[in-house]
């Protein structure tokens, strides 16, 4: 059997079944596993397949991009994401809400991080899936089109069963007097449940949202543990929050 012929067959199998095992192929074609391994390596180099331990996967499947569309205050959110990403250590269980800042955090996570992320935000899940060493747990329920997150009683009762180490909350408005507020009833219920289910709650917010408020209350400022903005922690606008016992980063 010719080399190219063999490689074409492998490609065919991968495309057909999305996955092949080296041991399997070597037996089918009567060549050593070493040869198969070299074929897979070559096909990977050509970008035709994705080689993994023990075999190969189809490429077409994992190839859906999510372009960085014009995210408001992108530069600020990037700074916040980097500060937040540094807090996640190997082995942690992390609960996250939705929102563009959290999605940016998902993109920013180091490639070699080994942790478990739990979320109901579809765009965030898509980003987590791109990281090879991150386990992703999806909170199921009905998808809210406006926030692209699963909401409802089912989602809340699932969250209640969890006790995560960290919880990253992308927030919409924060104010010392009114606490953390939002404008979507379902999302508020969800965030409340998340706060209950985490040992440490970290809020992510661009400074513009600080000292603003919205109709529905999530919780008081003192119930959160940390606040991350793009500003320097010593910036005067953050002082009231530090005074209220929130760690500011």
């Amino acid at each position: 059997m010719l080399k190219r012929e063999r490689q074409a067959y492998i490609l065919h199998q991968v495309n057909l079944h999305n996955k092949v095992l080296s041991s399997n192929l070597s037996q089918e074609m009567n060549v050593s596993e070493d040869t198969i391994r070299r074929d897979l390596l070559e096909l990977t180099g050509q970008g035709k397949i994705i080689k993994v331990h023990g075999g190969a996967l189809s490429h077409s499947f994992s190839n859906f991009y999510t372009p960085v569309n014009n995210v408001y205050s992108y530069a600020h959110k990037k700074i916040i994401a980097e500060k937040a990403a540094a807090l996640v250590k190997n082995g942690m269980f992390v609960l996250t809400s939705g929102g563009t800042t959290v999605i940016e955090l998902a993109r920013t996570l180091p490639h070699d991080l080994r942790a478990t992320f739990i979320s109901g935000s579809i765009p965030a899940i898509v980003e987590y899936m791109h990281h090879p060493n991150i386990e992703v747990i999806v909170i199921g329920d009905k998808v809210s089109k406006s926030s692209k997150i699963t909401v409802g009683g089912e989602a809340i009762s699932r969250i209640r069963q969890i006790k995560a180490e960290l919880c990253f909350l992308g927030i919409n408005a924060i104010d010392v007097r009114h606490g953390i507020t939002d404008n979507d009833w379902d999302v508020v219920q969800l965030k409340k449940a998340m706060i209950e289910s985490a040992q440490k709650v970290i809020c992510l917010s661009i400074s513009e949202k600080i000292n603003s408020f919205q109709p529905i209350k999530i919780c008081d400022v003192k119930e959160i543990d940390m606040l991350i903005t793009e500003l320097d922690p010593l910036h005067p606008v953050l002082q009231p929050y530090a005074d209220a016992g929130v760690e500011v980063l």
Copy 2:
């Protein structure tokens, strides 16, 4: 034997068998392998064949196996998606698995369709979300990186609570003797649960996967209600399935 005559013969052989070996040809025509090599080189220069180490391959051979689009057999999957999309009516509850064919179905659904789709496939969910009138229910659990679908006991017990009208199953291999089979244990469990939870099970498969099988069994052919391929329903390869009581479309 003249040069032209020899080359014509080689071309004929390549087109006939999709592959020739230099050693073989040199013996058949009683010329040195060097001469054959030079012939192949010339034919390759004319774009008539593809020369490889040890022989030559026909063009159709490598074209056949190399996906032109990102998605393998895109055109075929598009046809299947259109046939399937026509079956979904307003108000229906539809359960779907993962796989590129199902994702294509999600893209193909008419814009004004009002229905509820339930799935654990992240790429499919992303597509459903683009439709303004479709309600999306996410089945939560741990995400399997290879199949981009949520798998596990939690997912299965959620599916069990559902009774959907339709279930679209992208399948990996189908065979009258072995039934419907797959190569991923977790995915098989999920698909089994889906079959139980739907009134009507519709399998989507490109014809290439017909009469092939994989290590793990999902169910017998008679347990599904409909089979959709890109072929005409009267195509002989589909006859055995129609005979087994499956509606072929």
